[in-house]
């Protein structure tokens, strides 16, 4: 799972042009300056990387922190492999 987390953090860092060290679970997307359009871009890259579909109920306007994003994606990946 650490590998998955690192990959997601790397995607956020690349797409949003943020230093990866700042992207910790407690950080809020707002504080990191991640806009809704940035998040859409991040979601697309995560879907491409892990071959999952992120439904609006899982990630979207209600997603406030990096941790929520990581948890949601990890849950999806786990569900896919069972």
């Amino acid at each position: 799972m650490a590998d998955t987390r690192n990959k997601i953090i790397q995607i956020i860092a690349t797409e949003c042009e943020i230093d990866a060290a700042q992207i910790v679970p407690e950080a809020s997307l707002d504080d990191l300056g991640i806009s809704s359009v940035d998040l859409v871009q991040v979601m697309f890259q995560i879907e491409e990387e892990f071959d999952v579909y992120l439904a609006d109920e899982e990630i979207g306007a209600d997603t406030e922190s990096v941790g929520q994003l990581l948890d949601a994606v990890e849950k999806l990946i786990a569900a896919k492999s069972t």
Binding site: E17, V37, Q41, F44, Y53
Partner: protein
Amino acid sequence: MHRVVITGVGCVSSLGLTAAEHIQATREGVSGLATVTSVDPDKLLAKMAGELKNFDPADYLDRKTLNMVDRVAVLALVAGAEAIADSGLTFDDELSELTAVILGTGVGGMKTVDENFHRLYAEGATRLHPFVIPKLMANAAASQLTMAHGIKGPAYSIASACSSANHAIGDAFGKVRSGQMRAAVTGGCESCITYGTMKGWEALRVVAPDACRPFSKDRKGMILGEGAGIVVLERLEDAQARGAKIYAELAGFGMSSDAGDLVQPSADGAARAIRGALRDAGMNPEDIDYVNAHGTGTPANDPTETEALKMALGDHARKIGISSTKSMHGHALGAAGALELIATLGALEGSIVPPTITFTEAGDGCDLDYVPNVARDVSVRAALSNSFAFGGLNAVLALRRFD
């Protein structure tokens, strides 16, 4: 009513990546047309195109911007930045709200459509990149220019196929002339050299396999180009008050529709637009020293345009140079009128009329002086730039040298 002048120019085309390079190449009679590189030429019957050369968008725009834009908007942003910097204008609060951005484009973000729909239809992709829609929409380039420069007046795109740029420039001209706007950033952009588009043009049987030879007997059609040409329009009094460099006066604009055939041109419709531009500018045919022709090099356009020029200018049509710079930069569709306006500014400013290159022998019904192959020193006091589009939509700009 205000007099309107051009105080900034920017251009990217197959002839160069600045307005100065574009103008210089048209004077030297250089061809920007070559075997296409962004499409596999082996799949095409007509393999030539006028593509930008040695152009890396990353030299101009950051990664985040590039992620959000189609190539057509990239070209508009690069040419727009050049034109605005050249004008020396900064869009502070008051000017910002009184400046319009009006761009012509024939088809908008066609590369985005082509690449992404191919993924979906042919490669079995189940999802598309999230910015497909904001990249392909026809107004994207105009919107990107407003955001890049903080221009908050009216902004939109105009689509009239090959006349798009002239319609956009003419519309912007009207807004500044009437006093509704103080300035405008206007022109045209097009970048649709894709497999799908090239096959579409091929199917119409109007594309030349080797060279674009407007007005020549052995002409075989047009060659598709890409590019963007942007100009800054300002009221004369504002430009003079701030000591701006003035390229020329945009003096008149004429429009007409053929209301005839969707693709066959009409001499009568074209002549009405030419007469309209002269009337709007308060000019007589004798005032005109140069015409930048629509001159596509198709069998239908060239004799029809020749007839239209004779109808509108009378005997004077035989006394002046009439050239098609499409022979050099290709037919850039919605950007064509803008690339040709900038070539015409070069003629007005430098007293050099650009040639029609790869000219061989005059075609039937093509009996005017097309400035074959070599530029000519002519003092150009006033000029016309013609655009005639599929759909029978004609748009002609009239320019006057500003001394």
